[in-house]
């Protein structure tokens, strides 16, 4: 039986499988964009392994890479739609 946890993504409560990355949680929630580029283009993970920085999001107020951060119960994730 898969253990499920609840976290907050862009202000909405979401229930996802434990042990997955924040990036996987975003994709399961239908969010395909982690940030807007400095010219406003939608972006998401490119390298998947902590090099390209495209999947950076705010996790509990700190900038983290969604591809290398595991979900935790009660975590607050905010995608960077302001081009940060």
């Amino acid at each position: 039986m898969t253990h499920m946890i609840t976290l907050e993504i862009d202000g909405h409560g979401q229930t996802v499988e434990d042990g997955i990355t924040v990036l996987a949680a975003l994709s399961q929630t239908g969010i395909g964009c982690t940030r807007l580029s400095i010219t406003g283009q939608p972006r998401s993970a490119l390298c998947g392994m902590g090099i390209c920085q495209e999947c950076r999001v705010a996790v509990d107020g700190l900038r983290r890479l969604a591809c290398q951060t595991l979900v935790k119960s009660g975590m607050r994730v905010r995608t960077l739609s302001g081009g940060a």
Partner: protein, 427 residues
């Protein structure tokens, strides 16, 4: 919080090389600290989820039980503070780690090359696609086109297919004759030949290049050229693999100059020009998990003073070095088609959104940085700098003091500089 810690042998990276190195070094009874930036050991090839299983599991569990080994997952080396000290950064903060011997097992990253549409969400590396799937991203029911060159294309296609995706096309740049030569020579490495046979897919096309990823908010399709014919395929993801590039930042920061694109120079006992620094695995040259494993064993034995045992592994090392040479000779990377597909408005630097047109008059990396801010964003040129070196022959950017973005609080945590002899453990 410990601000400063000492270990006999520090190992950076817990992929096949780092795990093998830790296992071998731990038998000496000396203290071993294994540091890795992912949440679980295994590197990219044996990547797993917490509680999951991979080829890394048995050794990782044994290491976790060893009284001589400390493992720090989710931890990065962000700064080389001296010849025997580095700064490590984790979620809970940073600390200065001193060591007697260092084994760099930093692996490789994918060579990611710019082409029209490559910034659209849904375009990833081929290894990147595997990493995403293994970390829980669902590709079930998605149509995926895989393009580029090299054996990783087929491995990635298999991973995606097993996860429920439909592989629409595997577009391999190399010509059929070259692929046949690569495959035929594999009889010398039977397990690799078997892998090649089992991975082959009927949607594989040689002499086929990606020209453009199409879509507005995300990938909706891809334009390919096979021989002289161009065609468009609808898809939900495009995964590109143009090759792998050794991660050599730590070695560069230590003053070791890696040969361009060939990795950190080592002798046949994995020792660098600095006698207390060893390197093993893909960061010393691309060759796969078997090469990384035996190199890791040698490095771990040599770094812990078990030189005779290390020497006994040299024949196995030579066998996998021959495999690496065979693949490089017969599966040569030709990026001219990708370079030709680039348009003036194709973004080269994704962090600063710098298009190719703005770089057209630049003659080198420094000039590009000064005039356009190319490579000055969060990835610090790890993507575009490597692309510019590959496509235009620009000397790769020198490694910055801080190798990865890190929080100011982590830097502020360091009370003072300590040498190895005066290292202390804080509260």
């Amino acid at each position: 919080m410990t601000h400063c810690a000492h270990t006999n042998i520090l190992i950076l990276g817990a992929g096949p090389a780092g795990l093998a190195a830790a296992g071998a070094a731990a038998t000496s009874g000396r203290s071993v600290t294994l540091v890795d930036d992912n949440s679980c050991p295994g590197g990219q090839i044996w990547r797993m989820r917490p509680g999951g299983q991979s080829q890394a599991s048995p050794l990782a569990s044994a290491l976790a039980r060893s009284p001589h080994v400390q493992i720090h997952q989710g931890t990065r080396c962000v700064w080389v503070a001296g010849s025997h000290q580095v700064m490590l950064d984790a979620e809970q903060g940073g600390w200065l780690q001193t060591f007697d011997q260092l084994i760099i097992c930093s692996g490789a990253r994918e060579l990611l090359l710019p082409f029209p549409g490559w910034t659209l969400p849904g375009v990833t590396g081929v290894g990147g696609l595997q990493a995403l799937i293994k970390s829980g991203v669902s590709v079930k029911g998605q149509r995926i086109v895989i393009a580029g060159s090299g054996p990783l294309l087929l491995a990635s296609a298999r991973t995606a297919q097993q996860a429920g995706a439909t592989i629409v096309r595997v577009a391999e740049q190399a010509a059929a004759a070259s692929l046949a030569r690569a495959a035929i020579g594999l009889w010398r490495w039977p397990n690799k030949l078997q892998q090649a046979v089992t991975l082959f897919t009927p949607v594989h096309r040689p002499n086929c290049q990606v020209l453009e990823a199409t879509g507005t908010q995300k990938v909706e399709g891809v334009r390919l050229r096979q021989g002289k014919r161009e065609h468009h395929l609808a898809c939900d993801r495009v995964a590109c693999g143009f090759g792998l590039v050794p991660n050599t930042e730590v070695a560069q920061a230590l003053g070791l100059t890696p040969q361009a694109h060939q990795g950190i120079a080592v002798n046949d006992l994995q020792q660098t020009q600095l006698t207390h620094v060893f390197a093993a695995g893909e960061c010393t040259g691309i060759g796969g998990a078997e090469k990384a494993w035996v190199e890791g064993e040698i490095a771990g034995l040599a770094a812990s003073g078990q030189w005779e045992l290390a020497q006994k592994k040299r024949a196995e090392r030579a066998r996998w070095h021959a495999f690496a040479r065979h693949m490089q000779r017969n599966w040569p990377a030709d990026h001219s088609a990708t370079a030709a597909a680039m348009k003036p408005d194709t973004l080269v630097c994704r962090c600063e959104d710098i298009p190719a047109a703005e770089l057209a008059d630049c003659t080198g990396w420094i000039e590009a940085k000064l005039h356009t801010r190319c490579g000055m964003g969060p990835c610090q040129g790890k993507v575009c700098g490597t692309a510019a070196a590959t496509l235009w022959g620009w000397q790769p950017p020198p490694v910055g003091q801080l190798m990865h973005p890190c929080r100011i609080g982590s830097l502020a945590n360091i009370p003072c500089r300590h040498g190895p002899a005066s290292s202390t453990a804080g509260s």
